[in-house]
Symmetry: C2
Subunit: 347 residues, 2 copies
């Protein structure tokens, strides 16, 4: 029997942030693919689309007209999943039937008036305005006593259920702390209480020594494929300085975040020379009024593509019922991404 | 302010089996859909396809030839994610880098030699053979000291990453207990220790009183939309008698399971008059040699479709980063399914 090797043999890896496992099957990429392929994103779009409900000056489905905005534009989602004035109430018929009313606000952030751009095609100074808008929203929403958690995210690409290619992100802010960030809070708290340092600062120190999962290191931020990545090219942007939320960033750090966001998404686009779909979002301290020294905020990227511009990884059957599973190792993914040009392929 | 109402206002529901939450936004179905649509499953297939690697007498990609099987056929997956003789080993560089070798076996179960059938189009007596094969595999695999968990599941439809429409399921058996069933084990154990009854027998009793989420009640099995369902038409088949695993079924119960599986999938197909995609699987006691009185096995169905044969619910952005979210209430889904004919629409 040969010796156990990471890049060859099936194994499980532990995610200390969410306290969960992923099954890694490195040998499995040999599998032929006869299943569904995705449409690639249409590449040519006009800079203004009269039928797009996010373009400047157009009328949205609720009759409101978008202003002739020049960089970033934020408005309340016309089809919000959360509503601010939900009447309070709950159902609790024993421990097996528990429900409680939830209130919140859903917002849309147009990243640019230009219908034909995406983050990797925007200039860093314009992405900086997106970062500023996030900070402003996180702060503003967070002061509302009925808002204890602010989830900033971006769904990009039709394959991610994004219904409009106009560059935009979303913010869902709500009373309760949702499950994923809550898990991370618990784990980070335990770690912080034990070590007096954030989990991610210790993790980052080690990763910077090991180097094999690093995509790039800038002055203020590091992008890497986490050791416990679930999606084939899942990545994280982590600030070097432990900060509970994006509000703690200096102006230079805000610029740094804009640049890291741009750089990572350029690398993604270059992988298959296609506008790379993903869901991405920021995990940070809840806005519940407590001090959260344990929190080290980070920006998570969850892209579905596996083999090509059209073949994605399906998280189905085994993954839904048992445990996430991946077919290439995080180290292989990091290496592949690291070797790509840092300039956008369209340039 | 109006009073809090379940079928109108956003709320969170608690899943006591996995100890997690789902956000329910009943008002949100009004949202127009401009995003990706799925191809419907091709409806006409030959009963034998010479290019299908699951049809009888055909040669698979590893050169092996399928026998001329007459009902159910089980073989080891040619591209297994788990391998039986994985060398033992682990990586543990502090608490942040933990990995361990994993061994196991992946099998494929052809449900029928007929390429053109699906479970809802098969006869109950032939589905019974599938149930028998599951029991045999669970028992056989479970006696292996290196196999502590056996996950039986079915991915159906291209939209679920199923690469071949030939009716088949899979079994992934392994050393470790994966996260999802492990969560359910913890919660069921706590419940059983407190009450001396299984969580699901108490749940079933209440649901049978309430009736609003029941799809059908047979002699031995109940099909329902769980109170905490995540997917729009997520359902469970639960045996009335508490049993830790499918091995405890009497012959009449095996027939009952085959019939419930058939009935539920017929209802699903009738919803949009299309071969309804889903991932489904059985959660039951691990095969770790312990007695698991807390376990009440059940069969879970996770179908992605939401509005029509081609528009699915995307679990992306908010759902991946925060918390699952659904747009119609489980009660509305149950009512809609309950009203459908019990005979397959193709008949
Ligand atoms: O084994 P299959 O059907 O080729 O593959 C499918 O099911 C597997 C188990 O759920 C998943 O890991 C794959 O992503 C999916 O495409
Ligand atoms: O809000 P959108 O972009 O219309 O919708 C998309 O993102 C939401 C938030 O992740 C999801 O709930 C929807 O399923 C998805 O289609």
């Amino acid at each position: 029997m040969s010796e156990f090797q990471f890049d060859e043999h099936p194994h499980r890896r532990y995610n200390p942030l969410t306290e969960s496992w992923v099954l890694v099957s490195p040998h499995r990429t040999k599998r032929p693919w006869q299943g569904q392929v995705e449409k690639s994103a249409e590449d040519k779009r006009p800079s203004y689309d009269p039928t797009c409900y996010l373009c400047p000056t157009n009328t949205r489905s609720n009759g409101e007209k978008n202003p002739d905005y020049e960089n970033v534009y934020v408005f309340t989602n016309d089809f919000s999943a959360l509503i601010h004035d939900t009447p309070a109430g709950q159902v609790s018929d024993g421990e097996l039937f528990q429900a409680e009313s939830e209130s919140g606000i859903c917002k849309v952030i147009c990243f640019s008036p230009r219908h034909d751009l995406t983050i990797p095609e925007m200039e860093a100074k314009d992405i900086r305005r997106v970062v500023d808008a996030w900070c402003q929203e996180y702060e503003g929403l967070g002061t509302d006593p009925k808002i204890n958690h602010v989830q900033i995210f971006e769904n990009k690409g039709f394959v991610m259920g994004c219904s409009n290619p106009h560059p935009h992100g979303q913010i869902w802010a709500q009373y309760s702390i949702p499950d994923e960030p809550y898990k991370k809070q618990i784990a980070q708290k335990k770690y912080y209480d034990r070590h007096g340092r954030t989990l991610l600062s210790d993790y980052l120190t080690k990763e910077l020594e090991k180097k094999e999962r690093i995509l790039f290191e800038h002055e203020h931020f590091v992008a890497l494929i986490p050791f416990w990545a679930v999606w084939p090219y899942e990545a994280m942007i982590i600030p070097k300085r432990p900060m509970a939320s994006i509000l703690e960033m200096t102006s230079a750090e805000r610029d740094g975040l804009a640049e890291a966001y741009r750089q990572l998404t350029i690398i993604y686009d270059n992988l298959f020379e296609v506008s790379f779909p993903y869901s991405a979002g920021i995990h940070q301290a809840p806005t519940d009024g407590d001090v959260h020294e344990e929190w080290h905020w980070h920006f998570v990227f969850l892209p579905p593509l596996l083999r090509s511009a059209t073949v994605k990884k399906f998280m189905v059957g085994y993954e839904m019922l048992a445990n996430p599973q991946r077919d290439i190792t995080p180290e292989q993914s990091a290496q592949r991404l690291r070797e790509l040009p840092r300039e956008h392929y369209k340039k």
